[in-house]
């Protein structure tokens, strides 16, 4: 395979990198909302797995990719509302609740998959629709990678400016930032702290579920046990690395995606490296970036702190 044209190789590398970045991007964007509102969601991993399984199952049964994707997002919303009810109104510890959702999501999806589908590899019969712009896809190297991706990829990219706009320029975004920094001040200003936080965690849940569904339905096109490979936790790190700002989160997600595409890219080049080592690269890269860039990150001041009126 070493005689593969360089342009094609780079194109494939870029294309798969952009694809691999999507679940992480979505989950981290959603988590940015949750954390900006003061909720630390350690359940992202479980929500992603739930979204992946629900998406896979619904897409398999209906034969429709869109239905699967919608199911994944819906399950994410459901899990997000569970997280919200427990942590906001019942004041259960956020860390505990999140970890429970992650453990539950991992165990339950694995069990259901084996129970319903016998644990055998069941690929989806259909593939997701792709954008295929006639002239642009012919541009060397970047053409196919940029203009020939599944539609959901563009939706994820569009989510970046939308998230930035909502957080920065809307009343809802201001409310989210206020309840995460100073819930008492928000309350005193007449903002519903609980309602705002709940809305934020629903966004977080939906995004995580969507990310999981993308992974299973659009990218891999099947479900496997713990197929998210810790990307839920990586999304948490990425949110912090991106300092809760959508554009920075996009940059981090792309870095991660590119490093992951090396995992398949380097062996194709004939480089003799252990796949385990290359597989570690994206995680190492993100860890290094975290250490360098996120050391001075100023967290939302009320992150992880429940709010109760009259108790400061």
């Amino acid at each position: 395979m070493t005689d593969l044209p360089v342009a094609d190789f780079l194109s494939a590398l870029l294309g798969s990198g952009l694809l691999l970045a999507v679940p992480l991007l979505l989950a981290a964007l959603g988590e940015a909302f949750a954390e900006r509102a003061g909720l630390l969601n350690l359940g992202i991993e479980g929500m992603m797995l739930g979204g992946a399984f629900a998406g896979f199952a619904v897409a398999l049964e209906t034969g429709r990719i869109a239905a699967g994707v919608a199911a994944g997002a819906a399950l994410g919303v459901a899990l997000g509302s569970g997280f919200g009810l427990l942590t906001i109104w019942l004041r259960v510890d956020q860390v505990l609740t999140g970890l429970a959702i992650t453990i539950l999501g991992s165990g339950l999806t694995g069990f259901l998959y084996r129970d319903l589908y016998g644990g055998q590899n069941r690929p989806l019969p259909t593939t997701a629709a792709r954008l295929d712009l006639p002239v642009l896809t012919d541009v060397p190297v970047v053409g196919r990678a940029l203009f020939g991706q599944p539609l959901l990829v563009y939706l994820a990219w569009a989510a970046v400016p939308i998230a930035a706009l909502v957080l920065g320029r809307t009343r809802f975004g201001l409310a989210v930032r206020a309840v995460g920094e100073a819930p008492f001040a928000a309350d005193a200003a007449g903002i519903g702290v609980a309602q705002t936080r709940f809305a934020a965690i629903l966004i977080g849940g939906a995004a995580a579920g969507l990310g999981g569904a993308f992974l299973a339905v659009v990218d891999v096109r099947t479900f496997t046990d713990n197929m998210t490979l810790g990307q839920g936790f990586l999304a948490l790190a990425l949110t912090m690395l991106g300092r809760w700002r959508p554009w920075r989160i996009l940059a981090g997600a792309l870095l991660f995606g590119m490093l992951r595409s090396l995992e398949t890219g380097l062996p194709i080049l004939g480089m003799d490296v252990r796949p385990e080592f290359v597989g570690m690269l994206p995680y190492l890269g993100l860890l290094a970036a975290l250490v360098v860039l996120a050391r001075r990150a100023a967290m939302p001041a009320a992150l992880g702190v429940p709010y109760e009126r009259g108790r400061r």
Partner: protein, 537 residues
């Protein structure tokens, strides 16, 4: 500074006319609120008219803040009703209160520090103000002009001084159409010129027909500013002083209020000081001290100081002139970048808390809740906290629970700490009682040098007196006490000598016997008027 000189006859006539035409704008009627066994409010009725400044006075725990929280929608009362212009209204949430035109300025403010002034003003705004683009911005500019506010709308609140934040809070309440403005201890964070500015603002609001409720425990300010004073004691209205008394002889009015606040027992002055011989041994010698603040700039800039055994040395000054950095450096919590600190001849500069404690420094921080105590731990545990790291008696592994409880009971009794028992989490106690616990913790170790920062901040008069008396007694026992306080009255009461801290240096050191309070006051603000506020955000 008698009330009559600061309030013109014309103003009085004007507000009387308004009052006659329009009785109560807002009335709290028969309000009751209990927290467990404590009656925070018991059948409290208070009415406030348009264009009136009402002072709400009382010692800590008298129910002032609870009443304010009821009116502001933060606390639901168990009994009673709130009426606006004679009609009963329901105030279930802060949002309800804002909609009814009740604005609140909380003691520690309710602004989001990471947001700008304008963003804070926009928070939670609803109705027509929210629907019209730029409406909040225009209203804010308009209110700012009326109040003479100097804060740009794009400034991030966390970078503003406390005085500026307060003006933002007031402006924001007016932007949202407040007809009633509640202020909780608004002067506690302000320098004297800022207090004057606040008073001018409140008088301006009164002239515009706003009903102002001023919660304070500073008598002088209340008497200067208020048209009427209501005194709360143990959750009940102890009495009501109207303009006739307030405008009369200020000492008579003051005595009346004090009688009402404390049920006639009054507050005795702390005991007089005994002179300290000039040749007494120096317990603390500081030379050429330079300490950087959190921002990286030098906050203490070449300070020399000597405190003798048997002496209370007071450091006066407006907050933010290096007080925290000086206290931290002596306590070993902050390494100075230059200079020496010797305690009984032992050099401790930059050697850490352990070295300072071993050399004999006891330290009561000005940050009682954050730095001084672990809120969830019991009184007994907090009292033992400083021994956990540095030995103490008994086992090096096990806690001496029985001894801790015994010592806690002794401290509770000796300092009259109002706590159900040694096992009560310290976070449940009032600020004054927390302060007594912290003081008891230090005094139990009988430190040759006791450093106390803001010992009476937020304390009611009686607790403040107890604390000051304990500090004086410690010095009279032959130990040195360094008191850093922005309350000049405290220092005048107990200090043998007073140094004025301005911009990180002692601008002057005077013996109390020949002290001139006005001169110290002028020195305190003299070096500070143009200096930026250096308080960390």
């Amino acid at each position: 500074m008698t009330p009559t000189t600061t309030r013109t006859i014309r103003e009085r006539v004007a507000s009387d006319a308004v009052a006659a035409a329009d009785p109560a704008l807002i009335e709290a009627r028969g309000i009751g609120k209990r927290y467990g066994a404590v009656r925070a409010l018991d059948d409290v009725t208070v009415a406030i008219r348009r264009g009136e400044i009402l002072g709400l006075l009382g010692e800590n725990g008298a129910g002032k803040t609870t009443l304010m929280n009821v009116l502001g929608g933060m606390t639901a009362p168990d009994a009673g009703a709130v009426l606006i212009e004679g009609r009963p209204v329901r105030i279930g949430t802060p949002r309800d209160a804002l909609r009814l035109g009740i604005g609140t300025v909380y003691q520690h403010f309710a602004l989001v520090p990471t947001l700008t002034v304008l963003e804070n003003a926009r928070l939670g705004v609803g109705g027509p103000l929210a629907r019209t683009p730029g409406a909040v911005e225009r209203r804010l500019a308009e209110v700012g002009r009326q109040l003479g506010m100097d804060v740009p709308p794009g400034a991030v609140v966390g970078h503003l001084s406390l005085g500026q934040r307060q003006r933002v809070e007031i402006a924001r309440a007016l932007v949202r159409g407040a007809r009633v403005l509640l202020l909780d201890e608004p002067t506690s964070a302000l320098s004297p010129p800022e207090v004057d500015g606040l008073m001018a603002t409140l008088r301006e609001l009164r002239a515009r027909g706003v009903a102002v409720v001023l919660i304070t425990h500073k008598l002088g300010e209340a008497l200067r500013l208020c048209d009427r004073v209501v005194v709360l004691r143990q959750g009940r209205v102890a009495g009501d002083l109207d303009a006739d008394i307030l405008d009369g002889d200020s000492t008579v009015a003051e005595r009346r209020v004090v009688d009402l606040m404390f049920g006639g027992s009054g507050v005795a002055a702390p005991p007089p000081t005994s002179g300290v011989p000039a040749d007494a041994r120096a317990a603390l010698a500081v030379r050429g001290l330079v300490v950087r603040g959190d921002g990286g700039d030098a906050a203490i800039r070449g300070l020399d100081l000597a405190v003798r055994a048997g002496e209370v040395f007071g450091i006066a000054g407006v907050d933010g002139n290096g007080q925290t950095e000086l206290a931290d450096a002596i306590a070993g919590q902050r390494a100075p970048s230059a200079g020496t600190i010797a305690v009984d001849g032992v050099e401790i500069a930059g050697r850490g808390v352990g070295a300072a404690a071993t050399a004999g420094v006891g330290y009561v921080t000005g940050d009682r809740i954050g730095e001084g105590s672990v809120a969830a731990a019991s009184v007994a545990e907090n009292l033992a906290l400083k021994e956990v790291g540095s030995g103490g008696e008994g086992s090096r592994f096990w806690l001496d629970r029985r001894g801790m409880e015994r010592r806690a009971r002794a401290a509770i009794e000796r300092f009259a700490i109002r706590a159900p028992g040694p096992a009560t989490p310290i976070g449940r106690l009032s600020g004054g009682n927390v302060q007594k616990v912290l003081l008891a913790r230090e005094l139990a170790r009988v430190p040759p040098l006791l450093v106390c920062h803001q010992p009476t901040h937020g304390l009611d008069a009686r607790t403040a007196r107890d604390v000051l008396t304990a500090l004086r007694a410690h010095a009279d026992g032959g130990r040195a006490v360094l008191v850093i306080s922005s309350e000049l009255d405290d220092l005048l009461a107990i200090a043998d000598r007073i140094g004025v801290l301005v911009d990180g240096r002692l601008a002057a050191t005077v013996a109390r016997v020949d002290v001139d309070a006005d001169a110290i006051g002028r020195l305190m603000v003299g070096g500070h008027v143009s200096a930026p506020d250096r308080r960390p955000a």
